[in-house]
């Protein structure tokens, strides 16, 4: 998930939480505040009523025979009532109860906040009730709730938009670093160090570090290239001198035949040395990315070429090569001669380990991901699965006693395949043969 998306999701989620919290708490806070106000007002009024009773006696207020009193204001938002209680419970005198009551006044039922305070007067228990209508307040409360909901919603949307905008701007240099320096898999030698403008310290540090690492890699690559060039020159030149000298000596015709035979043997040894050095250099050069990948080639055509090279030699051993390719799969951006070497080495190996009368089969197919697959199957000796890894390693030989080692052929195959992003798959059973599969990248 992209960092920007994560930020946006986080910001949205946190704000939804806030809106939930606000819409849950605000109304109850408002109610509490409102009720506290009303309650203290009701208490103050109760005190005033008691003061009036103290001053002028209860009759002053009640006037009526049954000593009860009731008064509302016109809008029925407030009322005061004093009623004598029939039940004599002196214990309850003095404690005020406040509650929300539905009071019916002149056939209208209205919600009121009511304080009821029992009190004793002349040994008679009365109840003073003072009420304040909640209708208006509830309405207000409702409006406030609605108002806060919309305001917070709008604010949250605005802040989310602002957040996204800000993170976008903030992360812009970061994305630029990723898009221009990390994503394209630039080869160190093609890397051009550039500074991506940012005032975020961490991004500047990241940018600098990438520049530094790539610069270092570039230097190492160039050093390695020079080194390979030098090694190649220093090793191959003396071999070339020796090779020419041996050839000239052989041509001189005046040496005893025993000396000539020694020369022939020396030539063979030298040829072996030269091939090993060339193979190792080739591996290093592939690793050092010195080969161009600018050609486009039909794999079947290449296989035909390889087969025609090897066919003759295989026929000598009575080995048949069956070429069953159906697809005309084209590989682009490749190095033809390297691919030739890769296929040649595998088919050549198959021929080397096949026995007289056997057949090498070359087939193609597509895998589930519709990648082109090329398989070379022989019925030869097979490779012990424990050796699968090692046969591709240039410095490991698993059977020193055997004259027919795998040599550097397969390590080269592996390098060339890696260079072209071709996957290798090896399936082999001792005595049953080997199937070597190349899985080509989709174009």
């Amino acid at each position: 998930m992209k960092i920007q998306t994560k930020f946006a999701l986080y910001s949205a989620a946190s704000k939804v939480l806030i809106i939930l919290a606000i819409s849950v708490t605000i109304p109850s806070i408002i109610s509490t505040v409102v009720y506290t106000h009303i309650d203290s007002r009701l208490k103050a009024r109760t005190d005033r009523v008691f003061k009036m009773i103290e001053r002028g006696g209860i009759d002053e207020i009640t006037l009526e025979q049954d000593c009860s009193f009731e008064s509302y204001n016109i809008l029925k938002e407030e009322f005061v009532s004093i009623e004598p209680l029939t039940k004599i419970d002196k214990g309850s005198a003095g404690t005020a109860k406040i509650s929300n009551d539905e009071i019916s006044i002149e056939e209208e039922i209205l919600l009121h906040r009511v304080i009821s305070q029992p009190f004793l007067y002349d040994n008679q228990l009365y109840e003073l009730r003072i009420g304040e209508g909640l209708g208006a307040i509830e309405e207000l409360n409702h409006s406030i709730r609605k108002f806060t909901f919309w305001i917070t919603l709008i604010l949250i949307l605005l802040t989310i938009i602002a957040d996204i905008g800000f993170t976008k701007v903030l992360l812009k240099p970061f994305h630029k670093i990723i898009d221009t320096k990390l994503k394209p898999a630039i080869h160190p030698t093609d890397y051009v160090a550039s500074i991506i403008p940012t005032n975020t310290d961490e991004f500047a540090l990241l940018d600098n570090s990438i520049n530094g690492v790539m610069q270092k890699a570039k230097e190492l690559f160039i050093i390695e290239k020079e080194f390979i060039g030098n090694v190649s020159h220093e090793l191959l030149t003396p071999i070339s001198v020796l090779q020419s000298r041996l050839e000239n000596m052989l041509a001189e015709n005046n040496l005893p035949s025993s000396a000539n035979i020694k020369l022939v043997e020396s030539q063979r040894t030298l040829s072996r040395l030269s091939k090993v050095i060339k193979a190792l250099l080739m591996i290093s050069q592939i690793e050092n990315d010195q080969f161009l990948k600018k050609e486009s080639v039909a794999v079947s055509e290449l296989v035909n070429e390889v087969v025609s090279e090897i066919e003759e030699r295989a026929a000598e051993k009575k080995i048949t090569i069956e070429n069953n390719l159906k697809s005309d799969f084209q590989l682009t951006e490749c190095n033809r001669s390297l691919l030739f070497t890769m296929l040649f080495n595998v088919v050549s190996n198959a021929a080397k380990f096949s026995e007289s009368g056997q057949t090498i089969v070359i087939t193609d197919d597509s895998d589930e991901a519709s990648n082109y697959m090329l398989t070379i199957t022989d019925k030869g000796a097979g490779i012990n699965s424990e050796h699968f890894e090692r046969i591709f390693d240039r410095f490991k030989r698993f059977d020193r006693s055997s004259k027919e080692g795998y040599g550097l052929g397969l390590p080269i195959v592996k390098k060339i395949a890696e260079f072209h992003k071709i996957k290798l798959h090896l399936k082999s059973e001792m005595g049953q043969g080997t199937a070597f599969t190349f899985i080509f990248p989709t174009v």
Binding site: K225, I228, G229, S232, H233, L236, T237, I239, S240, V241, L242, Q243, S244, R245, E247, N248, L250, A251, S257, N260, I261, V264, Q267, R268, L270, S271, R272, S274, K275, K278, L281, Q285, Q290, F291, L292, S308, E309, E312, R313, E316, T341, F344, N345, S348, K352, K403, E404, G405, G407, L408, G409
Partner: protein, 224 residues
Amino acid sequence: MNVLIIEDEKELATEINAFLTRQGFMCDVAFTGREGSEKIFVNEYDFVLLDLGLPDYEGLDLLKEIKEDGKEVSIIILTARSETDDKVKGLDMGADDYLAKPFALAELMARMHAVTRRKHGLKSNTIEVLNFIIDLNKRTVSTGAEEITLTKKEFDLLHYLVLNKNRVLTRTQLTEHIWGDVMEESYDSNYIDVHIKNLRKKMSTHGDIDWIETVRGIGYKAKL
């Protein structure tokens, strides 16, 4: 034919010189780029064998100089440098061929012949050996009337032997020529023997093949 060998490795230059002289070429040697450059402008050569890794001169620059001067000279690049794009560059800049060190002198010979033939057009594209006609364009051998069917490798072997006539070619040299670097040395070298046997069998029904000689313990030679 006159050949200029521009090669700073004195021992190698000496060996190439000895070889080409024995083959009937007139050779001149330059151990530095400067010397080579001077010699080219003073003398007329048919061939320049140019080493790219000269200490005082960038080989490709020298190649450019020669080409810009417009001399009718065939250039074969010799190099031990591994940079693969050198080959492409060299050929693009007008070199006629490219040999990577180490190379066999017999191979150099074959390349020089090929370059010469290419430069002189179709005329010399067949080689006659006794009653056999080797057509290098069609890659066939015939007796004029009848064509002898040879495999690719058999033809290459015959051609190589004929080009290096009267010289023994060892199995190693022959293997390297027909297989290049792809073949591992450990591979059965008696393969060459099988080829020669087949070659003789196919050709003997059409004429005398005693000229394809076996040199005991060494290799084969076309004695012409």
